[in-house]
């Protein structure tokens, strides 16, 4: 047993919550002190982190690598677009509902088929499913706007009809932060529940989990659906921030980045994917400012990614894994 687990659980949990409160506190203050560019940057990290965390439910906790998270994310965007374009006046809650329904619908579809497959077959099938959605969205120009996508206005921030105001970058950041914190706590609760334990047991040894009598397929279906819903939520937030939905975000590149975030940050930690997203986006930001490098920043990032897989398979926060799941 290591020193970490030797500490009494109570103090470990206290340490965790203190750290958690400090991080949330910093993120709350961030928009008030950061210049506009970095303010927006912080919001984006939260959104991409949420998407990556949704994928961590599968990659880190169930042992299934999804190469198709762009589909859920993208459908969340298009769902929000549908609500904001068809319903007047644009409503925030409807955008959320439509986006979640669209992503959830895609997740049901993918979950039903793909969860019967294991390992690489699952990875390939999620990739193929996301491409199906991509091709449909890309070619169905009348409805989706095809290559150009859809643009729309931002809804007002309203809370239960009691209070309503236009979004400012700062309030939007707080809104995203609230959604992300709640999502994180919910997902954390789920992964620590008996249900989450079964998922982790599937990751460790699927045949044994099945032999003990758990309906593994059903657990996987629920895991994919949960993952898809949170990915869709991230999509809605991204659509709200940028006021558009585009097929690029349904394309494989986004799914690939999600996997990168997880590997870089540390799979199976929920917090790791946020760190991975931050690390990747900061790397991109700083590298693409270098002369000669610009849009080729993915060359060094890709090399760093490969090196991390070989030498740091647990990712940046992997060493905190025990503590984060305490």
């Amino acid at each position: 047993m290591t020193a970490i687990s030797a500490a009494p659980p109570r103090t470990r949990a206290a340490g965790y919550w203190i750290a958690f409160a400090m991080v949330v506190g910093l993120l709350l203050v961030a928009p008030l002190v950061l210049p506009p560019f970095w303010q927006r940057f912080a919001t984006e990290i939260l959104i991409w982190g949420l998407l990556a965390m949704s994928s961590d439910i599968l990659i880190g906790y169930t042992g299934m690598v999804s190469f198709g998270h762009s589909a859920f994310f993208g459908l969340g965007m298009y769902g929000a677009a549908a609500a904001l374009l068809t319903v007047k006046p644009p409503s925030l809650s409807l955008a959320l509902i439509y986006g979640l329904v669209a992503a959830g619908g895609a997740a049901v579809f993918v979950a039903y088929f793909a969860t019967r497959l294991r390992e690489i077959y699952f990875a390939i099938s999620t990739l193929v499913f996301s491409q199906i959605f991509y091709v449909i969205i890309f070619t169905w120009t009348e409805v989706t706007g095809g290559e150009n996508g859809l643009t729309f206005g931002q809804p007002r921030l309203s809370i239960l009809g009691l209070w309503s105001d236009r979004f400012t970058p700062t309030t939007f950041h707080w809104f995203v932060l609230a959604v992300v914190v709640v999502s994180y706590l919910v997902v954390r609760r789920i992964t620590q529940s008996p249900f989450g334990m079964v998922l982790q047991s599937i990751r460790e040894n699927e045949p044994r989990t099945r032999a003990i009598g758990y309906p593994v397929e059903r657990y996987k279906i629920v895991a994919v659906m949960l993952s898809g819903l949170f990915a869709g939520l991230a999509g809605v937030l991204y659509a709200l921030q940028n006021k558009f939905a585009a097929p690029d975000f349904v394309f494989f590149v986004v799914s690939g980045e999600v996997v990168i975030f997880n590997v870089m940050g540390g799979m199976g930690t929920l917090v790791g994917p946020f760190a991975g997203a931050a690390f990747f986006l900061l790397l991109r930001e700083s590298l693409s400012r270098l002369p000669y490098l610009a849009e080729y920043y993915l060359i060094p990032v890709g090399i760093i990614f490969i090196i991390m897989i070989i030498f740091l398979p647990q990712g940046l926060l992997g060493f905190l894994r025990r503590r984060l799941n305490a």
Binding site: V65, F67, Y121, V128, G302, I306
Partner: protein, 286 residues
């Protein structure tokens, strides 16, 4: 009717090129359990190398050879540096690593050759007439050449000394080592062969639609599909599946746009994985 015949021809020709791409992928998977995400990008890189050689020398056949050799060496280096350290780890890590390789290759190509489409001139000139429609000889020549290369690979695997090493290693790595077969070297060699096949396919495909830095992903995806449909690691199955899927897509393109026709192959893949996960053409697993 005419259209169906032309589409059949089209499907067969595309199927042969795809079969060449897929045979390299399936060979690598069969022996190392590696799903090579960078396979299509090696193809793309090979096509660019080929296009450059054609640009300088004007000799298409030399370009084919140079591209295959250059990419084979690159493949061997990739295997040694990124995949060899991952032997014995979860097979999923190899997908992740090759995905990283794919990113790097793609952006390298963008940096080196830019975003525009490069053309490779057709090495065999002329068309022939098929029911009032012109069909280029080059496509026929490509299909034949792809067939010859695949046959060559098959003969090598069947009768060659190293072919037997490869098959023995595929079936039982530990026993192959006990028989004195240098398995790490065989792995590197197979990765090099697979890469060379991809590069050659890229040069063959070049004159069809030109060479772009983004073409790799499309080929990776298609190759994945036919390799799974044909049964992972099963060479003959992959070849049959390539032709089958390409024909289906060709026929589908009569009704819908080619961009939508790819959905047909996605559906075939999903059905195969659900109902015949060992492959469409294999009655029982090995």
């Amino acid at each position: 009717m005419d259209q169906i015949l032309v589409q059949t021809l089209h499907g067969l020709v595309n199927g042969m090129v795809l079969a060449m791409v897929a045979s390299g992928l399936t060979l690598i998977f069969g022996i190392m359990d590696i799903v090579n995400f960078a396979h299509g990008d090696l193809l793309m890189l090979g096509a660019f190398v080929g296009a450059s050689v054609v640009g300088v020398t004007g000799n298409y056949w030399l370009a084919l050879l140079v591209a295959a050799v250059v990419i084979a060496i690159l493949g061997a280096l990739l295997q040694i540096t990124t995949l060899r350290p991952l032997i014995g780890r979860d097979p999923l890590t190899t997908i992740l690593a090759t995905f990283g390789v794919s990113l790097v290759i793609q952006k390298y190509a963008l940096w080196q050759w830019g975003p525009s489409v490069r053309r490779i001139n057709e090495p065999v000139p002329g068309d022939f007439t098929l029911f009032h429609l012109q069909y280029p000889w080059y496509r026929i020549a490509t299909a034949v050449l792809a067939g010859l290369i695949i046959t060559g690979l098959w003969l090598f695997l069947k009768y060659g000394k190293y072919g037997i090493w490869i098959r023995a290693t595929t079936q039982d790595r530990v026993m192959a080592q006990a028989m004195g077969i240098p398995v790490p070297l065989v792995y590197t060699g197979v990765f090099a062969i697979g890469s060379a096949m991809a590069a050659a396919s890229g040069v063959l495909f070049g004159p069809f639609a030109g060479v772009t830095q983004t073409m790799g992903f499309d080929f990776t995806l298609r190759a994945f599909i036919v390799v799974v449909v044909g049964g992972m690691g099963n060479l003959a199955g992959s070849i049959l599946a390539s032709i089958f899927v390409s024909l289906l897509e060709s026929y589908a393109a009569i009704v819908v746009s080619p961009a939508q026709a790819v959905i047909v192959s996605f559906v075939v893949l999903v059905l195969t994985m659900l109902f015949r996960p060992t492959g469409l053409f294999v009655p029982t697993p090995k």
